[in-house]
Structure formats: structure tokens, C-alpha cells
């Protein structure tokens, strides 16, 4: 093999190795950071493990928001109009957070029906319902219809 070819081969091998390492790194990071979207009915059916990072969504149940204590603790209930899930959050809620409006929160379950949120998502547009929430509520309503004979 002549020196130019050998050099080229070496470069190509190095390149492939770099791509391989980079891809492995990327896929690993992707898997670590995936958050599944879970509706209150899914939580009720045991589809999310306690402590696992997930996102939940639904509608903030009317009359459920409670500010409490000296800090910025807030508790509310998220529903898909079939099952409900209690949520605790410490911090400032987004402007468009309102009872009866859709909400998405990231965090983890700390109990079978208690969700500790570290982020509550805001939307730019008050008429907009995130696709996930719309879907969760459709599923919730369908299940309700199934149960009511």
C-alpha cells in the first residue's frame, strides 16, 4: 500500500471511529433525557413508576388550586375528566395557568397519586390546547363513556 493510500485509510478509520463514538454518546444522552407523557388515567393504571421523570398533562380541575404556607408552595389537581392526579409545585406559575385550562408539568411521582412538578409549562395562546392534552382528555372521556353503561 502506498503512503498516500495508507494515510487516507487511517483518516477514514479515524473518521468512522469518531462518528461511532459520537453516535453512541448522542443516543445514550437521548435515552437518558426522554420524558414520557402520561395522563392521570395512565398514572392510575400504574403506567409510571415512582421517581421516574415524566411529563403529565390535562386540565387544572376547577376550584382545586391552593396556595399555602409561607413559601411559594402551590397544590392543584390535574384531570383528564376521568381520573385525577394531585400536583405539588414550588415556584411561580406561568401567566396562563388557570383553573379549567390545560397544563403540562414535568417532574416525577412521589406517591401513587402525588406528582412533584419542577416545571409547569406556559403557552403563548390561551385557546391553544397542546396535542398531548387534547389526546389525553379524549381518551379520558372515552373511558368514562365505556364505564357508564
Amino acid at each position: 500500500m502506498n503512503p498516500i493510500r495508507r494515510k487516507r485509510l487511517l483518516l477514514i478509520l479515524l473518521g468512522l471511529a469518531a462518528i461511532g463514538i459520537a453516535s453512541a454518546l448522542v443516543l445514550l444522552a437521548l435515552r437518558e433525557n426522554l420524558q414520557h407523557f402520561v395522563s392521570p388515567s395512565d398514572v392510575d393504571a400504574g403506567k409510571a413508576a415512582i421517581g421516574q421523570r415524566i411529563r403529565i398533562g390535562g386540565v387544572v380541575e376547577e376550584g382545586s388550586v391552593r396556595r399555602g404556607g409561607e413559601g411559594l408552595d402551590v397544590r392543584f389537581v390535574v384531570t383528564d375528566r376521568f381520573k385525577t392526579l394531585r400536583v405539588h409545585f414550588r415556584g411561580i406559575l406561568p401567566d396562563l395557568f388557570r383553573e379549567g385550562q390545560s397544563v403540562i408539568a414535568s417532574g416525577a411521582l412521589t406517591g401513587p397519586d402525588l406528582f412533584e412538578a419542577d416545571e409547569v409549562l406556559a403557552k403563548h395562546d390561551e385557546n391553544y390546547m397542546p396535542a398531548e392534552v387534547a389526546d389525553a382528555i379524549a381518551r379520558g372521556k372515552a373511558k368514562k363513556a365505556e364505564q357508564a353503561p
Partner: protein
């Protein structure tokens, strides 16, 4: 009547775009002079018609014609005049029209400033741009007509989304679109070259300023968006790795790779096929960005209520454009002559490495952005990719770029020695370490990331200055002077250094406090005492606000008085108006959350953000660098010369 005229003019523009997209292309293929000569006039007429249509929509907003559904939905009688104007592109329909307008302006500019190129080639470039116009104009007319009437007219309109009632939002979309659409020129150039089957270095030279200008606008657009999000969204972040932000960032990454590979192609004739491919990808990603923003398929803070038919239309259009161009590429690219080669240590190699890292970073962002869509389509459930994915990988993939940036400009073309390149950088290297050590000594407990940021930033800036030092040491080159292209490159690279210092310091040393404060209470942040003095009601033109008064003191000295607001707009939307005391080395940021205990106390955000201005300052440097380079004399067209030695240095000839 006037809105109908606007629509009529838009339909005419579509017809003209069709003519422009078809006839000159066929003419160039068959060698029909008259059809070729049609290209330039058609480009001008199309531009005039779209501009008229846009002006008429703006008119409907200014005179408040609430019988136009789009106006009624996004404006109202008390909306201030400047926002009535920006409301034209405040929502879907109008922003598509703006897209079409900017595209036809670029097309007309290409028609005007392409005298140095052969007519057949220009005809093809304009034709491709015409075809892209056809796509956007029909998308506007078929799925999102801004001139639709709502009869009988309404007495008053709804309102413009209050988030958009802001200076940043007046300028952010046009700048961003200038960038997105500007890549259409590089794209049209690549497609025309592929059809032609040959490229001349002068054509590449001609396309460089267009790409540089588009890239500069995109840089400014993204920076404006980031700045706007920072002060307007009320939670003090400057980048969220949100799908829509990524949508604008991906074309930027590829565009950055493109301006570097174009330089190699123009100067050395190397990497030609790669440059053509990058041009196609950059514009495809711009279209993908438009699709992601406008279809609402991804959950994003930018997602607005949307209509699936629009998404399907844009997706089909994206498929045609990208698929068509890539098919053409696979078919024709092999005809272009193979590169003559260069050594592993050379300027070409360094620029190629730059491209490799930028493309890898872009691929990483693309994967993270589209993964939720893929997962849903494959039935893996609804997932989202958390920002830590990007936050972890992006610095890893781009750190080598920061390390290598200073070397590129001082490396020799074709062949060089690593030791020779590295030798002059001793001072820059020592400067980076000394400054970082000094910063560490001054601000004890400075986190590792901040120190790394300072090392990288000072290294890039001092390394860039090394180029100037070497230049001045050489009397011959000094006599000739620095070209604008080199100055632009130096400014942009220095901007990168400023940017990375800003990012790393903000990310690692910001203090963010969310707390409950009653009137009269104080809180101490980094030696500054923030006192919540008062809060009172205040009426604006189309909102009512709770107007807070916060005084910041250092000892007894008043540093700043801040007035954050909580506004309730007429359409019942609530908005946080943060108050910021900007500074070269730090920003003080106060935002009101919500009233607690029936208004006795408020939830308040108090942030101290060191060096955050440097992020946007760096971006401004990069933009200025791009514009400077685009203004280089060498890149300007010279008709006489072009005619005398036409075709002298063809890069690839048709088989």
C-alpha cells in the same frame, strides 16, 4: 374593495411566479433567447405584486378594517399604531405573506445584481426561486388567505397576542425570515449549477455575498428572538432548546458551515460538491423550520392553535423541494470533477473539520427535535426530549470548534505543518490561562464551567488577534492592507469568543430567586439589597397593570429603581412585564409572579445575571462580521472582466 385588490394582486403574483418558474427554465434548456429574457422582468413584476398585496394588508390593519377576518382576529381599535403594523405578521397568514414578500424581494435583487453571470445561468437561478415562490404563494392562497372577509364586519377586533406587542416582535420575524429566505438564493444557485452541469469559480464567488448576508440576518434574527424571550417571557432565560428555536438554529449551523465551505470552493476549487449539498440542506432546514413552526406538530412554547391541512401542505412542499433537489444532486453531482486533494494538515482540512463539527452538532439538534415526532409515528408513545440532552451534547460537539477557530486563518492552503501553524499562538494561549486564573483569583469560588468559558473565550479572541499581529509583522501584506473579507472574519471570530464567555458565565454563575415578598420587605443578592417598595394600579392603552416599585441598593447608594408590571389585556390575557437594569457585566432582573394572600404579598422573581449582554453582543459581532465580509471588493461583480475571460476556469464540465 381594497382587501379584494390585495387578494387579486396575490393571485396575479402566483401566476407570474408560475411563468417565472417554468418558461426561463425551459428557455435555458432549449436555448430560446426570448424565454430566457423573460426571467428578469418576471422577477420584478412578481416582487411588485407581492409588495402591493402586502401593503394592502398593512393598510387594512392601519385603517382597522374589521371586516377582514385576519385583522379582526389580531387587532383592535385601541391597539397602538406601531403594533397595528407589526400585527400584519403577528400570526400565521400574515407571516406567510411576509415570507413570500421577502422571497420575492430577494428574487428581484438577484435579478438586478447578477449582470456578471451568463444569462442562461441567471434564468435558471431565477426560475428555481420562482418555483419556490409558487409553493409559498399557493400555500398562502389555498390554506391561509389573509384577505378572507368576515361579513358583516365586526365593530371591534379581538387583540394582538400581548406577547407580540413589543419592539422585539416587530423586528424579530422579518430578520429571521430574511435569513431563512436568503438561503433560497444559495439553494437556487446550487440547483441551477446542477442542472447546468458545470460551475465556474466566478459563479461561486457571486453566490458568496448572498449567503453571507442571509447568514448575517439569520444571526441577528436568532439573537433578537433570544433577547425578546429574555425580557418578554418573564422568566429570564435566553435559550430553551425549544423545537421552534431549534428550527431556526439548525439552518444557522448549516449556514455557518456553508459560508466556510463556499470560501474553500471559491478560492481553491475544493469541496465543490459538498458546498452544493450544504446549500440544499440549509434551505431545506429553513423550510423544515417553517413547517415545525406553522404546523404545530410539536409541543412548543411557540405553538399556536393551528390547522393540520397547512402542516400537510408545507410538508408536501418540503418533500418536493428537498426530495427534488437531492434527487437532482445524486444524478448530476458525479459529473463535477473530483477534487485535486489536499494534505491532512492544511487550511482546507481545518475548514473541513469546522464543517464536520457544525454538521454533527446540527444532526444532534435535528435528532432531538424530531425524535418526538418519530416516536409518535412509530407508536412508541408520546415523549419529549429534555433540554439536558442538548445542554450536555452541544458543548461537547462544539468545544473543538472553539479550540480550532484561531488556527484556520493562519494555516496555509493545501499543505502546512502543525508546528508552524501553532507557533505564533503561544501568547494567546498564555493570555487565556492568565485571564482565567486572574478571574478565578478575583471571584473566589468561580465554578469550573465559568473558568472554562473564560479560557475558551479569551483563547478565541486573543487567537484572532494573533492573525492581526502576524499580518502587521509582514511588510508586504501590510502594504496591501487587510481585505474586508478578512476583517469580517476577524470580527465574527472575536464575536464567537465574546459569545462563549457570556454563555458560560450566565449558565454557571446566575443567581435566580423565586420568593414571596410583602410590601417593604428586602432581599439580598450578591451584595445588592432589593426592596419591594410599593405596588399600585396603572392603566395602559389596552391593558390594566399592577405596577411594582423595587429599589436596589448597594449599601446606602441606590443602584437602580425597577418597575415590573403584571398586565391584564383586553382579551383577558395576563402578561408579565419584567423590569431589567441592564449592564455590561451584569443584569438585574425583577418580575412579578402572582398576588398571594389576596394581594398582601407577591410572588417575585429576582435574578442576577452576570455578563448576559455578552451573548447578544457576540451575536452582533458575528452579524457585523458577515456583512463586512459580504462587502469585500473582490466579491463584488465586475462585468467587464467577467466578459473577457468568461469560462476560463470552469470547475466541472458537463459530460
Amino acid at each position: 374593495m381594497i382587501p379584494e385588490l390585495g387578494q387579486f394582486s396575490l393571485i396575479l403574483a402566483l401566476l407570474v411566479a408560475l411563468v417565472l418558474g417554468v418558461l426561463p427554465m425551459i428557455g435555458a434548456q432549449r436555448g430560446r433567447e426570448r424565454w430566457i429574457a423573460l426571467a428578469r422582468p418576471a422577477a420584478y413584476v412578481q416582487c411588485g405584486l407581492v409588495a402591493l398585496s402586502f401593503a394592502l394588508l398593512a393598510h387594512a390593519f392601519l385603517v382597522q378594517d374589521f371586516s377582514v377576518a385576519y385583522v379582526a382576529e389580531h387587532s383592535n381599535s385601541v391597539l397602538p399604531v406601531r403594533y397595528r403594523f407589526s400585527a400584519v405578521w403577528g400570526a400565521h397568514e400574515g407571516s406567510l405573506l411576509l415570507w413570500a414578500l421577502i422571497l420575492s424581494v430577494w428574487t428581484a435583487l438577484v435579478a438586478r445584481f447578477s449582470r456578471s453571470l451568463p444569462d442562461t445561468f441567471v434564468a435558471r437561478v431565477l426560475s428555481v426561486l420562482g418555483l419556490v415562490s409558487v409553493g409559498f404563494l399557493s400555500l398562502t392562497l389555498v390554506t391561509s388567505n389573509p384577505f378572507l372577509r368576515h361579513l358583516p364586519g365586526l365593530a371591534d377586533g379581538n387583540d394582538l397576542n400581548p406577547l407580540l406587542q413589543d419592539f422585539g416582535m416587530i423586528v424579530h420575524p422579518p430578520m429571521l425570515y430574511m435569513g431563512f429566505v436568503g438561503f433560497a438564493v444559495a439553494f437556487a444557485f446550487a440547483v441551477a449549477a446542477l442542472i447546468e452541469g458545470r460551475v465556474d469559480t466566478r459563479w461561486v464567488r457571486w453566490s458568496r455575498p448572498w449567503t453571507l448576508v442571509a447568514w448575517s440576518f439569520l444571526t441577528l434574527g436568532i439573537a433578537l428572538g433570544s433577547w425578546w424571550a429574555y425580557y418578554e417571557l418573564g422568566w429570564g432565560g435566553w435559550w430553551f432548546w425549544d423545537p421552534v428555536e431549534n428550527a431556526s438554529f439548525m439552518p444557522w449551523l448549516i449556514g455557518t458551515a456553508l459560508i466556510h465551505s463556499q470560501a474553500v470552493t471559491e478560492k481553491r476549487g475544493q469541496l465543490l460538491r459538498w458546498t452544493l449539498l450544504l446549500a440544499i440542506i440549509a434551505f431545506s432546514l429553513s423550510l423544515l423550520g417553517t413547517f415545525l413552526v406553522r404546523s404545530g406538530v410539536l409541543t412548543s412554547v411557540h405553538a399556536f392553535a393551528s390547522d393540520p391541512t397547512r402542516g400537510a401542505f408545507i410538508l408536501a412542499f418540503l418533500g418536493c423541494v428537498t426530495g427534488g433537489a437531492l434527487a437532482l444532486y445524486t444524478w448530476r453531482a458525479p459529473r463535477f470533477s473530483v477534487d485535486t486533494g489536499f494534505e491532512p494538515v492544511s487550511r482546507e482540512s481545518l475548514l473541513l473539520l469546522n464543517n464536520v463539527f457544525l454538521v454533527a452538532a446540527c444532526a444532534m439538534v435535528l435528532l432531538g427535535t424530531l425524535y418526538p415526532l418519530v416516536a409518535e409515528a412509530m407508536g412508541w408513545g408520546k415523549v419529549s426530549v429534555g433540554p439536558p440532552y442538548f445542554g450536555l451534547l452541544f458543548p461537547i460537539l462544539t468545544a473543538p470548534l472553539f479550540l480550532l477557530v484561531p488556527f484556520g486563518p493562519l494555516a496555509r492552503w493545501r499543505q502546512d505543518q502543525a508546528m508552524r501553524i501553532a507557533a505564533p499562538f503561544k501568547i494567546a494561549f498564555i493570555a487565556a490561562l492568565v485571564v482565567a486564573a486572574a478571574a478565578f483569583a478575583l471571584a473566589r469560588g468561580l465554578p469550573l464551567r465559568a473558568v472554562l468559558g473564560i479560557v475558551l473565550g479569551v483563547w478565541v479572541i486573543a487567537g484572532t488577534l494573533t492573525y492581526v499581529r502576524r499580518f502587521r509583522a509582514d511588510p508586504q501584506r501590510r502594504a496591501r492592507g487587510l481585505s474586508r473579507e478578512s476583517i469580517g472574519m476577524l470580527i465574527a471570530h472575536a464575536g464567537l469568543g465574546v459569545f462563549v464567555i457570556g454563555v458560560m458565565l450566565v449558565e454557571s454563575t446566575s443567581i435566580e430567586k423565586d420568593l414571596r415578598m410583602a410590601r417593604g420587605e428586602s432581599v439580598e443578592v450578591r451584595g445588592l439589597r432589593f426592596t419591594f417598595e410599593n405596588i399600585e394600579p396603572l392603566d395602559g392603552p389596552n391593558y390594566r397593570a399592577d405596577h411594582g416599585v423595587f429599589v436596589v441598593r448597594s449599601g446606602e447608594r441606590i443602584v437602580a429603581t425597577l418597575h415590573p408590571q403584571k398586565r391584564a389585556y383586553r382579551n383577558r390575557q395576563v402578561m408579565t412585564e419584567a423590569a431589567i437594569d441592564p449592564g455590561f457585566t451584569r443584569d438585574l432582573y425583577v418580575a412579578l409572579g402572582e398576588p398571594l394572600d389576596g394581594g398582601k404579598a407577591w410572588a417575585v422573581r429576582i435574578y442576577h445575571k452576570p455578563f448576559i449582554r455578552w451573548i447578544w453582543l457576540g451575536a452582533l459581532f458575528m452579524m457585523a462580521g458577515g456583512l463586512f465580509a459580504a462587502a469585500d471588493k473582490r466579491l463584488r461583480e465586475r462585468r467587464a472582466q467577467a466578459l473577457t475571460d468568461a469560462g476560463a476556469d470552469a470547475l466541472g464540465a458537463a459530460a
